[in-house]
Amino acid sequence: MKNILLVCNQGMSTSFLVEKMKQAAKEKSTEVNIWAVSDAELHENWENADIVLLGPQVGYLKSNTEKVVGNSIPVTVIDFVDYGRVNGAAVLKTALEMIEE
């Protein structure tokens, strides 16, 4: 079971993406746990995650987030076109590949 954490300003817009990613995972019958939080809730959530995906609008928090997770898990900024077009399948694919590495 892979755990994917999405972070944005209030966890609102990313939650739309979460739904699409879950759909994509279901279609591929991949077992994943995906959830979205606001950047203020990162501290309480990252320890349960295998990867942190930042919405592009909070991409400026990348170095800060890396500091918080202490390089124990990958942190990456979601491609802004995939994000805007709510391309759940593409984001899921990238995330799973990054966890594998």
Binding site: M12, A40, P56, Q57, Y60, F80, V81, Y83, R85
Partner: protein, 439 residues
């Protein structure tokens, strides 16, 4: 714009955002406001029920005896006491918590209690009272005046919350402040001793400072902060030009892909929230409404469909666009947009890094806020007095935020229609440019 200049500008914006976004006090402030928002919304909900629906002079007065309505209102009044009237204390506690978390300090309860204690230490526990018809005024002691714990004292809450927490963390990580006990003593006991001195020193410092202020300047902490910080800053940030400027800079940041909250969350929201609370309290007490510009005012008139009033851009694309991909993205963005979430259209179309669309994205809110400001000032619509959730759909939000004034909804509709024509010429140029690029 070629790609390297684009990258250069984006980097500069990202640099500023990183600095502002990572600044620990500003961050904690933003996080704290996110934590107290539900209480603001509860207060707003209560205000609507109490003073629109249960108002004895309103439509319900014909159905139910006015005295009965007044009795029912007391539920809402007690909720106002537990939210609006202690907002400063809620802010102070929330800030203390988030500052601890952001600093990675584990023993959060100690600084939170220190902050709460300090808040009362710096507050004079007396109030003056003059009976009706009497020129004499009496000093009542042993009360916590709500004028200090409600909206008007919010900056005291912010400053004490930040200062006392930081001071506590500094003191408690200083080895000299810790009591060394040897022997077979459980860790919990040692821990309680290790916070003892920092707590004492911390609260005493604030008590002495407050005493000196009183003796030397004949002033309390609250008055000092409101005179040197709140009033001048609030004058700049919530005057129409200052407000428009900060909002526009924030939206410009969004145009470069960085969430506008980086700017507005720290520089604007504290003042807008304070105005919001002032307005809600004044509305509840049937007093004159003090502020036009406040939190829900911005959301109601400048975040329709999301930042940049992008609901109008969606409409412009649906009616006038010839590009299939634009229409597809707009269809997909419609549901989030109804709840004022604009990221799909901002990043999907995209508006980001697209100067032709960034321009109307920044201009549209300047237009709508100016119109709404003057419409309120001349009395065409009621003041915005109710904190609504920012996800409340447009048209409905105007009605609710003004305490049930349908004219505000009409104004929202007019603004949406006119804004379509603000976006339209830029959309046309954008489509022409991209058509040329494709050839």
């Amino acid at each position: 714009m070629n790609n390297s200049t684009k990258q250069g500008i984006a980097d500069r914006f990202a640099f500023v955002a990183q600095k502002l976004g990572a600044q620990i006090h500003l961050r904690s402030l933003r996080d704290a406001f996110a934590s107290i928002m539900p209480f603001m919304i509860l207060a707003g909900f209560m205000t609507l029920i109490n003073y629109v629906i249960l108002e004895p002079t309103g439509f319900m007065g014909n159905l139910v005896h006015p005295d009965t309505l007044t009795t029912w209102q007391s539920i809402g009044v007690s909720i106002a006491n537990g939210t609006l009237n202690i907002m400063t204390l809620l802010v102070a506690v929330a800030i203390s918590y988030h500052l601890c978390v952001n600093r990675g300090y584990k023993n959060v309860i100690a600084p939170i209690l220190v902050v709460l204690s300090t808040m009362i230490v710096v507050t004079p526990l007396t109030t003056t009272f003059s009976p009706e018809g009497s020129t004499e005024s009496f000093i009542i002691s042993n009360v916590i005046p709500v004028s200090y714990t409600s909206a008007s004292g919010m900056f005291v809450g912010i400053i004490v919350g930040l200062l006392a927490t930081d001071l506590f963390i500094k003191l408690s990580s200083n080895k000299k402040m810790q009591i060394n006990i040897s022997g077979n003593i459980p860790p919990a006991v040692i821990k309680s001793f290790n916070v003892l001195i920092p707590i004492m020193v911390n609260v005493i410092i604030f008590a002495v400072a407050s005493f000196l202020l009183n003796q030397l300047l004949n002033m309390d902490f609250n008055t000092l902060i409101s005179t040197i910080i709140t009033k001048p800053l609030s004058y700049v940030t919530t005057s129409l030009p200052g407000f428009l400027l900060i909002t526009s800079i924030a939206n410009l940041f969004f145009g470069f892909g960085i969430h506008q909250a980086v700017i507005s969350g720290a520089l604007l929201d504290p003042f807008l929230l304070q105005n919001m609370q002032d307005n809600m309290l004044a509305y509840a007490n049937h007093q004159e409404i003090p502020h036009i510009i406040n939190m829900a005012f911005k959301d109601t008139f400048a975040v329709m469909g999301g930042s940049g009033n992008t609901i109008s851009l969606l409409i412009a694309i649906f009616i006038f666009s010839r590009r299939k991909d634009y229409k597809d993205i707009s269809k997909m963005s419609l549901t989030p947009s109804i709840f004022n979430i604009s990221e799909p259209i901002i990043f999907g179309l995209p508006i980001v890094f697209n100067p032709m669309l960034i321009i109307p994205f920044v201009l549209a809110p300047i237009f709508s806020l100016t119109v709404a400001y003057f419409a309120t000032a001349v009395g065409l619509i009621n003041h915005v007095v109710v904190q609504t959730p920012w996800t409340t759909p447009p048209i409905i939000s105007g009605f609710l935020a003004t305490g049930g004034d349908w004219r505000a909804s009409v104004l929202q509709l007019l603004i949406i229609i006119i804004t379509v024509f603000i976006y339209l010429p830029f959309l046309k140029v954008d489509e022409r440019v991209s058509a040329m690029q494709h050839k």
